[in-house]
Assembly symmetry: C2
DNA sequence: TAGTGGTCTAGACCACTCA
DNA sequence: GAGTGGTCTAGACCACTAT
């Protein structure tokens, strides 16, 4: 029997969309109709269409049918790996240095983000990540002490705080922000670049339920590129 | 009857993973087992698990079972909208200026990327995108003339080339790169910032099948931030 | 070779929303 | 009210791979 997989149908529909069989914003045939066309169960067509909808290529509405997305907004999926993996995936040797570690009262902006009471101390860490011994990224991080078990200093020699948290403290949601900044003197010194150099900054905040866990700023060395396919 | 939806199961499993019921890398019960536990069809459990796998929280292998991802690599989904929408979504008024438009022989790097023969001319465009009249992003773009129908200059007064291409020329695949660069004199002048200012650069290349369509560099004004949830 | 996930089917009922 | 997608079920067979 002619096996018609949801992959086949997905590819076929994608092709038909891209060839312009249906205009942008136009209605495409319903699931029942397509199932007849392709000679398969409606479930199979449904799965193919759901995949296309996930990819943002069609928009589906009950009773309203399925339409080609009017203005195709392509989505890029970025994976945000642990720094060590980024370095090792590039074929480089990873190492890290804990540069600073203290308990202190965070600045107001951070305190608010971590949901701490005034004058409460939090854990502050500065880590330098290296690739083949050269600075790769400079990380500053605040940790909500109430949300995270104690970290022994010795542990941080083995595992960067970055990876330690990923392994030990699960989070339920998070936010990332990417931007470009000129290196200030402190970061420039840490990364060994000239002050003012454009750096790729990744800001991340994570929490579990409604408890903030940590917020971190990762300044990547000059030339760093984040890429993805569309 | 107690309706057990794949959403319910997904949430429940997510919760159990996040509460640490299974260690990182540990095997979780099979689909049949879970179906019994939740009192539903295997198909339903399957769908929930597939969703978790898509999100990168579990890894599934035939015969090998389903495991909690050893090192959870969280994925961020970024949508890359048309510049106009970015501006308008922020509540600003969008406008654009076509600053330059000429046919010329592209530099070797670009020529190679577009797959053009030596000395072939391509279309080069410079566009300034504005938000409330202030520079928002400066776009330079090379277009493979063989892949794209002629663009009349008048059309580009109505629609930026960015949006014109999205609407008129479907593509099948693409690549994006994000990085930080110091503004050179030309870009600095266009955006009205000091030379050396850190700018967020988005490089995009798209093609249809194996024909290159266009490659573009979008320099965003200082302070631009791209964000996403994890 | 056996066990696990991957997938398809045929049928059913539901939920939403457009006319 | 009716048509479309959303989802669940029960059963089946297949494909991969760990042992």
């Amino acid at each position: 029997m002619a096996t018609v997989s949801h992959h086949t149908i997905r590819e076929s529909l994608l092709d038909r969309i891209q060839r312009g069989e249906w205009a942008l914003g136009a209605l495409i045939p319903g699931e029942v109709q397509l199932a007849r066309e392709y000679g398969c169960a409606r479930t199979t067509v449904n799965r193919a269409l759901r995949a296309l909808a996930d990819a943002g290529l069609v928009v589906r509405k009950r009773r309203g049918g399925t339409r080609v997305t009017p203005l195709p907004v392509r989505q890029a999926r970025l994976s945000i790996p642990v720094v060590r993996e980024q370095v090792e995936d590039a074929g480089d040797r990873y190492s890290h240095q804990l540069r600073r570690r203290r308990q202190s009262v965070p600045p107001a902006a951070i305190r608010k983000r971590l949901g701490l009471a005034a004058r409460t101390k939090a854990l502050y860490l500065e880590t330098l990540h290296l690739a083949n011994g050269a600075p790769f990224a400079f990380e500053t991080r605040w940790i909500n002490p109430a949300a995270v078990p104690d970290v022994a200093a010795e542990e941080l020699e083995q595992l960067s705080i970055n990876e330690w948290l990923v392994r030990r403290v699960p989070f339920t949601s998070g936010e990332v922000r990417f931007s470009a900044v000129n290196a200030d003197s402190r970061v420039a010194a840490a990364l060994g670049v000239a002050e003012g150099t454009a750096l790729f900054l990744v800001d991340r905040t994570t929490w579990r339920g409604d408890v903030f866990i940590t917020t971190t700023a990762l300044h990547h060395a000059a030339g760093y590129t984040l890429h993805s396919t569309l």
